[in-house]
């Protein structure tokens, strides 16, 4: 190609010079990569004779400058006068949008994250759930619809499953969104479906059959394992309660784990796949009749390999009630939280044994939950534990889970749900349905 590896671009009249090595950072799959590829430069001995190849590109030079800088340094610096959307559009033209996204914010660290943006909600009702997409986008479920945002926080087409009340949403991958919805009386709707997160089109409706008869159902919480299966808690009309299992590729029902007496599965509030244990954690925390139940299901042997229940523990309203549960990343314990924001742990390796409540609530000035409060939620990421309470999120780090940061902002009210993914944390507030986006800034220069 060009001598000395030098390349000259004329972008919208402005001339840039760079090297082939810098451009190689764009990758062969980008427009710049193709432009310089040998298949397009079979006989292009430079006519100017200067030994430097020159290419004309009919685009915005200011944006090209930013993107060229990104290819040179790997970091993104957007001048104040340059609108971000313009930059994103140009990046898409060159096929560098992924580069921009990767440089836009840093690797997730709960102790370094900053509030990046607040997105005002437009939904009429209260939000039920917010879910982070693997690529940094998110979706917010309120009532019968799910609002979908890409990582640039542009809103896409909202998604709904017959406008039934949405119980849970989950990103199977960046482009596929699963929705679990309630079945309404008299209508054979609700259930579970997969949508394109990009276009909002319905891709697949998951069916449940009992005795070879397809039945409508209400889907509650959802989870999926690493390779092949999707799980959801299911409530059928005729007491067909249990956990449905579907093949991820074909979408066909693969299994159904009917609930035994004493372990409520059909209206589970949280499902979580434990890869190392090869079991599904099911937590039913707001049961209609029975007690709180947390259990691990083994689908190979079709049995409950570990379980805990608050039977006989929570007698009155003031007692500590488990309101949310999450299996820790080492799969050795389950972390739970109660209405006083106490953290507790259940040991997964030993059989029985109660909740080991940590003494955190004594350190905090215990506030009697007011009317504005929301139920607390838990999440784990990269060895850190996150819990939401009222209007802030606490970050706990280290093997002992010591409180290291508190994320709070001035308005929006209590946090009703939050989610971590794509190196971002999304927190959905109770008031006005506003949601916050927390990001880790790029590392300091030195």
């Amino acid at each position: 190609m060009a001598a000395g590896g030098r390349v000259r671009f004329n972008v919208g009249g402005q001339v840039f010079e760079t090297t082939t090595t810098t451009l190689a950072n764009a990758g062969r799959d980008s427009m710049l990569g193709a432009l310089l590829d040998s298949s397009w430069n079979v006989s292009s001995s430079s006519p100017s004779g200067g030994g430097v190849a020159e290419y004309f590109i009919d685009r915005n030079p200011a944006c090209f400058a930013v993107l060229l800088d990104l290819l040179r340094t790997g970091s993104l610096h957007v001048p104040p006068h340059l609108p971000e959307k313009l930059l994103y559009r140009e990046a898409l033209y060159y096929g560098l949008l992924d580069h921009v996204r990767a440089a836009r914010w840093g690797a997730f660290d709960g102790d370094r994250i900053r509030l990046a943006e607040s997105v005002p909600g437009r939904a009429p009702g209260d939000g039920t759930a917010i879910r982070a997409a693997p690529d940094g986008g998110c979706c917010v479920a309120h009532g019968g619809a799910v609002r979908v945002y890409n990582w640039m926080l542009d809103e896409r087409r909202p998604v709904s499953l017959d406008h039934s009340q949405v119980n849970d949403a989950a990103y199977l991958d960046a482009a596929t969104l699963l929705i679990a919805a309630r079945e309404r009386l008299g209508k054979r709707d609700g259930g579970m479906a997969a949508f394109s997160a990009v276009s909002g089109d319905l891709r697949h409706r998951f069916r449940v059959a009992h005795d070879r008869q397809v039945k409508s159902f209400t889907a509650g919480a959802m989870a999926f394992d690493q390779e092949s299966r999707i799980f959801a808690s299911c409530k059928g009309r005729l007491n067909e309660y249990g956990i449905g299992v579907w093949d991820r590729v074909t979408g066909e029902q693969a299994d159904f784990f009917y609930e035994h007496p004493g372990c409520a599965l059909g209206d589970a509030d949280k499902l979580q796949w434990l890869d190392a244990t090869n079991a599904l954690m099911v937590a039913t925390l707001f049961p209609k009749a029975d007690n709180c139940f947390i259990g691990l299901l083994d689908f190979r042997a079709k049995n409950v390999v570990w379980s805990w229940s608050d039977a006989g523990v929570a007698a009155s309203l003031d007692d500590k009630r488990v309101l949310h549960a999450i299996a820790m990343e080492d799969e050795r314990s389950v972390c739970v939280i109660n209405q006083y924001d106490d953290l507790g742990f259940l040991d997964l390796r030993s059989g029985a044994g109660g909740v080991r409540w940590s003494s955190r609530s004594k350190l905090m000035n215990r506030k009697v939950p007011g009317e504005e409060s929301c139920y607390p939620k838990l999440a784990t990421h990269g060895g850190q534990l996150f819990s939401s309470m009222n209007d802030s999120i606490s970050v706990f780090s280290g093997p002992e889970y010591v409180l290291t940061s508190t994320l709070r902002r001035s308005h929006g009210g209590a946090i009703c749900d939050f989610s971590i993914g794509g190196d971002r944390l999304f927190a959905l507030h109770n008031e006005e349905n506003v949601f916050d986006v927390w990001e880790t800034p790029p590392p300091p220069i030195i």
Partner: protein, 740 residues
């Protein structure tokens, strides 16, 4: 913005407010113009004439088309256009004759790939935006699909392609050289089109054709080849197929084609191959064909039930040969040879399993159980094994070094482990050991003791305690004899023969019927002195002379003047001493004066007078059998090269039939208390037990020593009930109760 375009402000009417147009109308021919540009470019690309094209311009054109929402039409046009190009290519490929077909296909495939990359480059923006939101196939993959449908799966090519590939593989199988590079690139193309294309269009027919090829070939081979030859062929075919896979097929095919070859060549003919007459497994085993056996083992390892079949054929062969060995009356004549043959057989199969069957545990187990089966078919095996050990441990028989001896003994222990009647072995071993020790013919104390240790580790302390007692007796006897000579004044013993007394504890040694004889007066006097000394030092003991077990060294001067020292048994000594006073004696006279039992005396006279080279006496008449009136006299012409002459005893090493019966009876008798002890032990801990469980537990407990006969156990239970150790349950007669 409002007036910026061509269509916006053509008709101006002042008072009307024009509706705000969001976007400027585009040229109605925009799409056609743009597509024409791309269309021409694609044509140039397929014509290898891309040098004049500007990528930036083409990319921008496609970008604008997508931006103006023409992506669906663009996609459609592209599909159409590529199809046209591919159809042209197909015509070229169709026209290619014979061997050029694959080459042409390959050339076009390369062209298409290259073009496809460039087309993908141009339409990259569509790939990123329109394709994912509309679930379309990306341009490159779409191009592969078109190639698959238009070329590979077209009616003119599909069959021809797979036939060509299969034909080439067939000719390679029959020994021709083919262009493997072309094969590789062609199969690679099928794989690039997706695993299902490779599998459906090539792999499945390939496996089918291979199956029928190998089915035919194996049929042909098995009719004319010996088993070893056949297996060699199968092995070669298997390695050829693996090489084929590594050369030009998908890795995943390896397992499948191997399964086909194994199934056709081995599994389908397994029984016939293994049992093949004159060359099958049995012949390989007989002829120690390690290489063939190894091959058979590794090949049939792939076949389900293959090793099980080999193992069971081997086991039944071992059982058969073993059975014919142990039941052959010819073999019973020489116990040492009998055991040696067993050992050789064991060595042989140990070697085969070690070398050819990769020391497979299950094969070793089969070997052991086969040996156990046939060794116990002959109830004299315990005796013979003991005799074999006796032969090895006896002095002077073979001057084997101790290490060799050790390994032989270890091997014998293997055989010992197979024995069910270990107590019978113990009985014989005791007898043989006693003989060795008393006649002073134990080759080495170390070897004897090491054998004892082996038995002890195998069977426990109880088994060898009496045998160890025998060694202790010998040691103390030596001390006692020394003590006797030290305490008795030498004048008192002047001229008397030197005696060495071995004091055997009754019970430790095999009981012998006590056959006393009249000892010569010289001996009587000294032995009486010893008795006095011994009883003087030990209170409350009884001393009985076992004259049938001793031996003596006597100095003899013959009539011809030659002097020799004769090593003889006590009985022989008694006989020879008679000739100090008489020249000729008849058998009856000898019998009267010595009082030696007739059978022993005859044997002893035979050994003195009839063994060639050691004829100390002469007999008249010179017949083998000894009659009452036969007379004996000293052989004056006795000569020998050696000064010391050892006179052996014509001894029956092997037991005679009545002896055998006696031993058997004694063993049966000895077993009774052992069975009773076992019953009592079990009942004491269990208190109440039903009949079947007792039988089972007793058998289990005693199995290491012998297999108790159920009838005998039942009798012992009856006897214990009589003696009120046990009682029957009053309601359930099958239950026994222990009475403390």
């Amino acid at each position: 913005m409002m007036n910026g375009g061509g269509g916006g402000g053509q008709k101006k009417r002042a008072p009307r407010i024009e509706p705000f147009r969001h976007r400027v109308e585009t040229d109605p021919k925009f799409f056609d113009k743009s597509w024409r540009k791309l269309h021409d470019a694609i044509r140039e690309i397929y014509n290898h004439n891309a040098s004049g094209l500007s990528f930036e311009e083409l990319y921008r054109t496609a970008y604008n088309m997508v931006l103006n929402k023409f992506a669906p039409q663009l996609y459609e046009k592209l599909t159409e256009n590529m199809k046209e190009h591919l159809e042209d290519m197909r015509t070229c490929i169709d026209a290619a004759q014979g061997g050029l077909f694959l080459e042409e296909l390959q050339r076009k495939w390369n062209d298409h790939n290259k073009a496809l990359t460039m087309i993908r480059d141009i339409l990259m923006y569509m790939d990123r935006t329109y394709i994912p939101t509309n679930k379309k196939t990306p341009v490159f993959d779409h191009g592969l699909e078109l190639w698959r449908d238009t070329i590979v799966r077209s009616p003119t090519i599909q069959g021809r392609l797979s036939d060509t590939l299969l034909e080439l593989i067939h000719s390679e199988r029959t020994g021709e050289v083919i262009n493997r590079g072309l094969m590789r690139t062609t199969t690679k193309m099928l794989m690039d089109l997706g695993l299902s294309v490779y599998q459906d269009d090539f792999e499945r027919p390939f496996l089918e054709v291979s199956a029928s090829f190998y089915s035919g070939e194996s049929q042909q081979f098995i009719e004319c080849c010996a088993c070893g030859e056949y297996l060699k062929q199968a092995e070669r075919r298997l390695s050829e197929e693996s090489e084929r896979v590594s050369q030009y097929l998908d890795v995943k095919t390896h397992e499948k084609i191997t399964a086909v070859v194994v199934n056709e060549m081995l599994a389908n003919h397994m029984q016939r191959l293994i049992l093949m007459e004159n060359s099958g497994l049995v012949n390989m085993l007989v002829e120690d064909r390690y290489e063939d056996l190894t091959r058979m083992y590794t090949l049939f390892n792939h076949v389900p039930d293959g090793l099980t079949t080999i193992r069971s054929v081997m086991a039944s062969h071992i059982k058969d040969t073993g059975k014919s060995l142990v039941t052959d009356p010819e073999r019973l004549k020489d116990p040492v040879d009998f055991v040696q043959r067993l050992l050789n057989m064991k060595d042989k199969y140990d070697n085969i399993i070690n070398v050819s069957f990769s020391n497979d545990k299950s094969f070793l187990n089969a070997l052991n159980s086969s040996f156990e089966h046939f060794i116990n078919l002959n109830n004299r095996s315990p005796e013979f094994i003991s005799l074999f050990v006796d032969d090895k441990l006896r002095k002077g028989v073979k001057e084997a070094n101790e290490e060799d001896l050790e390994t032989v003994l270890d091997k014998v222990m293997m055989l010992f482990r197979y024995l069910q009647e270990k107590d019978l072995f113990e009985k014989y071993y005791k007898q043989h050991l006693a003989k060795r020790l008393l006649s002073g013919r134990a080759a080495s104390d170390d070897s004897e003791r090491s054998m004892l240790v082996k038995l002890k580790t195998e069977c426990g302390y109880q088994f060898t305690s009496k045998l160890e007692g025998m060694f202790t007796d010998l040691k103390t006897s030596e001390d006692t004899t020394q003590g006797f000579y030290a305490s008795t004044s030498s004048e008192l013993l002047a001229d008397a023969p030197t005696i060495s007394v071995q004091i055997l504890t009754t019970g430790s040694w095999p009981t012998q019927t006590c056959n006393t004889c009249n000892l010569p007066p010289e001996i009587v006097s000294v032995s009486e002195k010893f008795r006095a000394y011994y009883l003087g030092t030990h209170n409350g003991r009884r001393l009985t002379w076992q004259t049938n077990m001793g031996h003596a060294d006597i100095k003899a001067t013959f009539g011809n003047g030659s002097k020799h020292e004769l090593n003889v048994s006590t009985y022989q000594m008694c006989v020879l001493m008679l000739f100090n006073s008489s020249d000729v004696l008849t058998y009856r006279e000898i019998e009267q004066s010595t009082a030696i039992p007739a059978a022993d005396l005859k044997r002893c006279l035979q050994s003195l007078a009839l063994v060639k080279g050691k004829q100390v006496l002469r007999k008249e008449p010179m017949s083998r059998d000894i009659a009452d009136d036969d007379s004996f006299f000293v052989n004056d012409k006795f000569t020998s090269k050696l000064f010391k002459v050892k006179i052996g005893t014509v001894a029956a090493q092997k037991e005679t039939d009545p002896e055998k019966l006696e031993t058997r009876q004694r063993v049966e008798e000895d077993r009774k208390p052992q069975i009773e002890a076992a019953i009592v032990r079990i009942m004491k801990s269990r208190r109440v037990l039903d009949h079947n469980s007792i039988m089972m537990e007793v058998t289990k407990q005693l199995q290491p020593r012998f297999m108790p006969n159920p009838v005998v156990i039942k009798k012992r239970i009856e006897s214990l009930i009589e003696r009120e150790f046990l009682e029957r349950d009053k309601t359930d007669r099958k239950m026994y109760r222990y009475l403390a």
